[in-house]
């Protein structure tokens, strides 16, 4: 028997999404399994651990670091990471003199293959509008206070170019292995709103 459901009313968006998906499956554009796989990939496999591995490798391998800074997309593909939307990836190195910070002022462009999907704050009107106007204040709200001597540069992503930060390698990490260094690299440090963690901050 259809039509009798004692369940909460679904939101309109859920109903609309089902309508769209069911029609497109019928038209043979994709299967439900293919959509399942996309979702699984972004829920499980694709995330900032990827970017952390890229950063750790760049810290220990100067040749890789150079390739990464020259052509981000090619360099991350060496490690098996690739966006499927066709955008370029520019990797920006943070130094004691320059703090680069990334935003997408118009929507949410973000280097998915190395960072996963963006957090809610990155997509918020507050971040998108304020970080370009008052970056130091925004960074301070993230807990990052920079000396006046540090230049802050804000980079606006778009559908053609996405950005990832190569954070500064923390002091006291000279004897750490690449695997150990991965643990220091947070998602936020690869957006530029935080620094990488010091060894003392990781238990």
């Amino acid at each position: 028997m259809s039509g009798q459901h004692h369940r909460e009313t679904e939101p309109y968006a859920a109903i609309r999404t089902k309508a769209i998906e069911s029609l497109l499956i019928e038209k043979g554009l994709f299967t439900g399994d293919a959509i399942d796989a996309q979702i699984q990939a972004y829920e499980k496999d694709i995330g900032p651990m990827n970017g952390a591995k890229v950063v750790a490798r760049a810290w220990v391998d100067s040749g890789y670091r150079e390739r990464l800074l020259v052509n981000g997309r090619e360099a991350i593909s060496e490690m098996g990471f690739a966006d499927t939307q066709g955008a370029e990836l520019v990797v920006l190195e943070n130094t004691p003199a320059v703090q680069n910070v990334v935003v997408c002022t118009l929507c949410s462009c973000y280097p998915w293959s190395v960072l996963g999907l963006p957090p809610t704050w990155y997509k918020s009107f507050a971040y998108r509008s304020r970080v370009v106007i008052e970056p130091r204040k925004v960074l301070k709200e993230f807990g990052l206070e920079l000396d006046d001597s540090v230049e802050v540069r804000v980079w606006d992503s778009n559908s053609d170019v996405r950005y990832m930060i190569l954070p500064k390698r923390p002091d006291g990490t000279e004897n750490m292995s690449e695997d150990e260094l991965v643990e220091l690299v947070s998602r936020d440090s690869m957006v530029g709103v935080a620094q990488a963690k010091s060894p003392a901050q990781v238990s």
């Binding site: 459901h5 859920a14 029609l23 497109l24 939307q85 929507c107």
Partner: protein, 102 residues
Amino acid sequence: MEDRIALPRKNGELVFDAPWEGRAFGMAVALNEIGEYEWSEFQSLLAAEIANTESSDSSTYYERWLVSLEKLLLDKGMLEAKELEARTTEYASGERDDDWHD
């Protein structure tokens, strides 16, 4: 399938706040990957939808995503407005209830 499986989290944040968001995301990405449109086409619509609604309504990011996807599908002729409305009504009324993906 159990209704109350915890939604996946990364860094302690939900990846999607509800299953439909994941479906809308997955569809937009899949259609781009098979070459139905350039990613910039979807992104332009999303940016426009955000700009048009951000100061006036409280729709969420994925609601805007869904609106953008729908526009693109209609523009590209992958869907027709009539069939979309008809199918939406079937689900809304409970006449159709194949929600295996929930």
